[in-house]
């Protein structure tokens, strides 16, 4: 496996859709390629940091306002 091959498998790697054999090939490649190891680690961190931080919070006040507006629009119909 080379660096380009690794990139092409990245989505399936993070979505745990790769075969055991391909995962092993990625492990072997990244143990000898620092650039790919960093890309793998920091892409993983990218996904995790967005999953772990709700960047558009919906306050109770906003939610109630939205809810009332939605129901009043729908019930008018």
């Amino acid at each position: 496996m080379n660096c380009t091959d690794l990139l092409s498998h990245l989505t399936d790697y993070f979505d745990e859709q790769l075969s055991v054999g391909l995962r092993e090939e990625i492990r072997v490649h990244t143990s000898g390629c620092q650039h790919c190891k960093v890309v793998l680690d920091t892409t993983h961190q990218t996904i995790e940091v967005y999953k772990g931080n709700e960047i558009y919070e919906v306050s109770t006040e906003l939610r109630e306002r939205l809810h009332t507006a939605i129901m009043s629009k729908c019930l008018k119909k």
Partner: protein
């Protein structure tokens, strides 16, 4: 004598019963569906439009449309995926209105190679949560995702923020599974590249 088939125990999503009741005119059932998904629909709309007022309008319009078209929902997909699809279409329409001279669609921006080839190979140390407080981190994450082309931003939002499966994301966006995977890869790599500017390990003596 024909063999007696054992019943297949397939788990039925709780929304199925709620949707059936709502279709029969039970507004309390529809209201429960609204409660379940209003936050998610608002977040999706805000991620795509990057505008709070637009997101509020879109959330209301998406539920109204769902209510009006409930009869057309055949249950071939999850109710939530159908709802997200309505909200995505409303959001893209809103973006189109804003940018009168430029089309905004899921097909836009796919030609760009920007950020698809990794260029930054610095490790992120210490990790982002240790480098920044929550408010600062929120600002960085917002600013960074805002810079993504809408098509990539939408795929990343559904798949990685709202946790839809690849198949559900494809269904909600009217794309093929390979197209979702390709856009997701590029969205993740572009975000990684942009976030590296903030999170990359500082060299000795380099100001933070």
């Amino acid at each position: 004598m024909p063999a007696i088939q054992s019943p297949v125990s397939e788990e039925v999503h709780p929304d199925v019963a709620l949707v059936a009741r709502a279709k029969a005119g039970d507004t309390a059932a529809f209201e429960q569906l609204v409660r379940q998904y209003e936050r998610q629909i608002f977040r999706v709309a805000q991620h795509i439009t990057q505008n709070r007022e637009d997101a509020e309008d879109i959330t209301q319009d998406a539920f109204l449309k769902a209510y009006e078209k409930l009869e057309q929902f055949q249950g071939n997909s999850k109710f939530s995926t159908w709802l997200v699809r309505i909200a995505v279409n409303e959001s893209l329409m809103r973006l189109r209105k804003r940018k009168t001279s430029k089309t905004v669609s899921m097909d836009e921006d796919v030609q760009t190679e920007e950020g698809s080839i990794p260029r930054d190979f610095a490790e992120w140390r210490p990790n982002p949560e240790q480098q920044y407080n929550q408010a600062e981190l929120g600002d960085i994450l917002r600013k960074t995702i805002q810079g993504l082309p809408p098509g990539f931003r939408t795929v990343f939002t559904l798949r990685d923020i709202e946790n839809l499966s690849t198949e559900e994301t494809a269904e909600a966006l009217g794309l093929s599974v390979p197209a979702v995977k390709s856009r997701l890869l590029r969205a993740r790599l572009q975000l990684r590249e942009r976030l590296s500017r903030y999170f990359r390990q500082k060299k000795e003596g380099q100001p933070a």
